[in-house]
Amino acid sequence: MKKGAKKWLGLQFDFEENSKTIPSTNCTTVEVKKSKSDLSALKKRTFNFQLHLKPKIVTDLAVHSKKIGEVESWLQLNVINRPKNSVCNQTASFLLICGPTGSGKTATIQVLCKKLGIDISEWTNPVDQEFDFYRGVNQVTGFTEFLTESKWNSLFSVSDKKIILVEDFPNALVRKSEDFGAVLEECYYKGNYPIVFICTDSNDSKMNLSEKLFTQDLRNKYKIVEISFNACAMTLLRNALKRAHNLVQDNLDLFKTPSPETVNAIIATSMGDIKCAINQYYFASLLGTADLPTVSTKKPQKTGTKRKRTETSSSVQSMSRDQTLGLFHGVGKVLNPKRVETGGSWRLNCDLQKLIDEFSTQPTSFIAFLFENYVKYYGNLDDVCAAAEILSLSQTFLEKWVDRQDVLPFSLWVAVMGLMIHNEHRVMKWTPITGPKKTQKKVSERDVTDLYYRNIINNVENSRFDVTV
């Protein structure tokens, strides 16, 4: 990149040049990204499976039609029917799309924009800058400039309608989320084009951008519209794979047809992740591979091709997504222990190791949840007594304000095992799980124990505890 090009526009132009190799020049930067991750380079005759499978019309999308409708109406309202030539008095509109990975967030925006003839310019975090060479604006300033000043149309654009897409948030903002308000403020008053933010949901509260960056205050202040996507439904996944199937049928010289059982296994394992499903399908259909071995257990089926594939290409390491347990699911598992009789004794029917690994990052809150709810699931005072003792023991591992990471899992082990084992008289009824109580001490007074007398002396009302039996 040239030294003179200080604005992001220079960089954007670079991308356009690259993208000339790709036949369609409509949504430029996005496709560059896709083609880089293309795996079909391994094949002799190059065939871009991903590119061919990319949804091109609305019906191709594996998204619920109502969601598509919502996004489309937003685009209609804020881009197509936007009053022209009213640069002043006009504030930018924001849309926030969130949802789990592979629920078709980006694809929906792309397809809809193509349909409505809207250009997309997308922000990507610069990775190739050398600091010595490119001194000057920092990442956040660059980001703000891109959002506010990308008003010049690209040479290849077909219309004057344009949105700005942000999926890749600058790291500086992720680390210091409080700066984001200032960026939004700038864009809100200066920006000329609607901005679409795409956030992927995550279980980790630290990484959950839609919560962290877009606080409720900001949402209210800048009238950010939120549309949240759900994971792909089974039927939609099946339809998408049917399209893939047709594609394979058209190119039988390159691919083989995976068996229906494999397709079912893929749908089961991908857990509503369309990207994952299509990747798996792609590998299942490669020539010269055996049928994906499927493990049929009571649990969702798992495909076990990891070992075979690693030799060919290292990017195929994970075939199935990790099954993540929600907090409530985990709490429920511990409070409703399942037992299996083996011989004269019984065992817990639960993968404890997995359960504990799942919550090892947040032992305090998990145990707090258990503590808040365990009494409701117990039917006997002696059991509760033992369980309370165990919970108290588990707390000794979580010393006051000392984060000793290595002992934290022990507290989880103690609490989880104790609660599961001591629950001899389980209450079998539906009980809602409640969140742990937040106790905020009122530290306004020094000596609360003597406050009662001081109130008497000063003739202040004294009724904080209900002492009636």
């Binding site: 305090t364 707090a368 503590f371 009494v375 117990y378 039917g379 005072l381 002696d382 509760v384 007594c385 309370a388 003792e389 919970l391 108290s392 023991l393 588990s394 707390q395 000794t396 979580l398 010393e399 006051k400 304000w401 000392v402 109580k437 106790t439 905020q440 001490k441 009122k442 530290v443 007074e445 000596d447 609360v448 124990t449 003597d450 009662y452 007398y453 001081r454 008497i456 002396i457 003739n459 004294n462 904080r464 505890f465 209900d466 002492v467 039996v469």
Partner: protein
């Protein structure tokens, strides 16, 4: 003004009890210097009174011109914290444990600030300032270690007086760097004398029975005794011989909890009691005090065998309370255990009857 503040002794020589100790303290400051001090003893024994007397001995009446201000600190993670301090020209008093986990930052910043400002006129004043830290036992381990290091480093410019109820949670490194002085609670007799004296100064006649009752009910806490006495006076205008001394509401509440435990041992009671315990905690009653009061009340209702068991359990959970994180866990475990023990005893009794 409360009696407790009004009649607080201002001079080491006018202290009412522990006169030998007062003399020692006076001798300590004779040369105009003293080592770091760690003053400990039960609540209401007069630790703070003695510290202020000592400072007055050292700096003169200027120590009484205090101002209350809020200091601001920024943690390394850019979090802003406020803490209120009381300071005069010669000393600064604060309780760093108010800010919880960030107390280390407070301690280091305060000591550095104080230690790095030289006294302008070294002849007129002492060449050091005094930092008075209260509630040291609630400091985090981190903060205590930070304190240890800074204590050594800045000994030329400042003296630190630590004030705490128990030294068991103060790390040995700090204990060995300080002169430890224990201030025991006054005896019942001493409390009675002080109450009578105070009432005389207020030109009231305090009947013997009431002063006795207050002295026994105040848990040898002089401050509370004075407050109780004044509360009696306010309630009845005149101090009458047959007047009943009221107990604080939280104590009655805890007694109430103990009664509920004895009355019915069931899961519903446990759930209710958890709510009650939460109420106490939210109100800010220290969990150690909840524990003690609960235990005392429970022991009234049981025979010797059961009492032994209950005390054993109380010892176990009290220890965990000091170690562990959330007090409600240990309190509830104790309540559940006691209810179990009580239930078992009742069942045994029934079985014997038949």
């Amino acid at each position: 003004m409360l009696w407790a503040d009004k009649y607080r002794p201002k001079e080491l020589s006018s202290l009412d009890y522990h006169k030998d100790q007062a003399l020692n303290l006076k001798n300590l400051t004779k040369d105009g210097d003293f080592p770091h001090l760690l003053i400990y003893g039960p609540v209401g024994a007069g630790k703070k009174t003695r510290i202020m007397c000592l400072l007055r001995e050292l700096y003169g009446p200027g120590i009484d011109r205090v101002k209350v201000e809020t200091m601001n600190f920024t943690t390394p993670s850019n979090k802003k914290i406020d803490i209120s301090t009381i300071s005069s020209n010669y000393h600064i008093e604060l309780s760093p444990s108010d800010v919880g986990i960030n107390d280390r930052v407070v301690i280091m910043d305060v000591i550095k600030n104080v230690a790095q400002t030289q006294q302008l006129n070294a002849n007129a004043q002492r060449e050091f300032k005094v930092i008075l830290l209260t509630d040291v036992d609630n400091l985090t381990k981190d903060a205590q270690h930070a304190l240890r290091r800074t204590m050594e480093k800045y000994i030329a410019n400042c003296r630190i007086i630590l004030c705490t109820t128990s030294i068991s949670r103060v790390i040995p490194a700090i204990r060995s760097r300080c002169l430890c002085i224990r201030v025991p609670a006054p005896s019942t007799e001493e409390i009675v004398t002080i109450l009578t004296n105070v009432c005389t100064k207020e030109s009231l006649t305090l009947p013997e029975e009431i002063s006795r009752e207050v002295a026994t009910k105040c848990n040898r806490n002089l401050r509370r005794a004075l407050l109780m006495c004044e509360a009696c006076k306010v309630e009845k205008q005149l101090v009458l011989p047959k007047q009943h001394v009221v107990e604080p509401d939280w104590l009655l509440f805890i007694k109430n909890i103990a009664q509920k435990m004895v009355k019915e041992q069931s899961l519903t009671t446990l759930v209710k009691l958890r709510e009650n315990l939460y109420e106490l905690i939210v109100f800010g009653i220290p969990s150690e005090i909840i524990f003690c009061a609960l235990l005392k009340e429970l022991l009234k209702n049981c025979d010797l065998d059961l009492a032994a068991l209950i005390v054993e359990q109380a010892a176990l959970y009290e220890h965990r309370l000091a170690q562990g994180n959330k007090e409600i866990f240990h309190l509830e475990a104790f309540v559940a255990k006691c209810m179990c023990l009580y239930q078992n005893m009742m069942q045994e009794l029934l079985a014997c009857d038949f």
